[in-house]
């Protein structure tokens, strides 16, 4: 889902930067508020940032398609540190990943929107929607899977909007079909991984996730 420089038109570069900046303001507010409430929130945030960094460059081979792809990790981060704080984490991660040849500078806004905004918000939304109706494994697993797939579908949409404005739907489907066959097994992996990680956090530090629930319910 990392789009390189030179692909998006100047108009869409600007649009995605504006959208990313608006959400980043919300993210910085959430981080500041929660860090003030509890200074120990910062190490957790840094740890999740490092985890998202590794997960989102972790190319997993998918033999049946003869290609590889990577999970995103942001749905997990959204459940553990909060969906808006994950936007800040993603912006930092994506900025650093540019230095290892992953993603461009002009496309940073678009990459933040797909991985840092759509991934965590759809993942966290799925988790909150299902947590009272399904078990932890299903709600966290579905959050990881749906957040991951939505990230890639958003990247396909960003490409179609910029490169094929005359026929966005058709090219969105074409680009999505480029991602989906390889991504399908990976979203299952990301779902299982997210479920295991959330269960681990709940077993060891239930207060972390309860804190988020309390804030969302307030």
């Amino acid at each position: 889902m990392h789009i390189s420089d030179g692909i998006l038109s100047p108009l869409w570069v600007g649009v995605w930067y504006v959208v990313a900046l608006l959400f980043l303001v919300l993210g910085v507010r959430e981080v500041t508020r929660r860090a003030e409430d509890n200074p120990s929130y910062v190490p957790l945030l840094a740890m999740m940032g490092a985890a998202v960094f590794v997960i989102s460059v972790w190319h997993i081979p998918v033999p049946v398609t003869g290609s590889s792809s990577h999970p995103v990790g942001t749905p997990l981060a959204a459940i553990v540190v909060g969906p808006y704080a994950t936007i800040v984490v993603s912006a930092i991660v994506l900025s650093l990943q540019m230095f290892i040849g992953h993603g461009g500078l002009t496309t940073l806004g678009a990459n933040i929107v797909s991985m840092g905004i759509v991934g965590p918000l759809t993942g966290y939304g799925t988790y909150r929607l299902l947590e009272n109706h399904a078990g932890l494994a299903i709600s966290a697993g579905a959050a990881g899977a749906i957040g991951s797939m939505c990230t890639y579908l958003t990247t396909a949409l960003e490409l179609a909007l910029s490169l094929n404005p005359e026929n966005v739907l058709r090219y969105w489907l074409i680009y999505s079909m480029g991602f989906v066959p390889t991504q399908l097994p990976l979203v299952v992996v990301e779902g299982v991984f997210t479920a295991i990680a959330v269960k681990y956090v709940l077993d060891r530090r239930p207060d972390l996730i309860d804190l988020l629930r309390g804030e969302a319910g307030a």
Binding site: M1, H2, I3, S4, D5, G6, I7, N38, S40, Y41, P43, L44, A46, M47, A50, A51, F53, V54, V57, W58, H59, I60, P61, V62, P63, V64, T65, G66, S67, S68, S69, H70, L96, M98, F99, I100, G101, H102, G103, G104, L105, T155, A156, L159, S162, L163, N164, Y171, Y175, G178, F179, T182, Q183, R204, R205, D207, L208, L211
Partner: protein, 93 residues
Amino acid sequence: MLSPTERYALSLMLVILMGIVGLAYWGNTVVGGSLEGTDAIVEEHAAAIGDKEPTNPIQLSEEGEVIAFTLAAVLAGLLIGYLWPSVFEEETI
């Protein structure tokens, strides 16, 4: 002597590594795929349709990319390991 958490983490790393190596062997040798990333595949296809040329601020060779990814992952792993006790092994939050 390793703690139970360290033993678990090392075992998990080994299992993941073996899984990835096994998948790569299957994909590359048995199926014969290039195992190129879908990001690059879709982007190159989209760029060709839109008559664009993808570039990155930093261009790395294939070997350079492997080294950069490895170093970055090691640093991130060290950071996670350093912060892990303060998050999961002490009642600080």
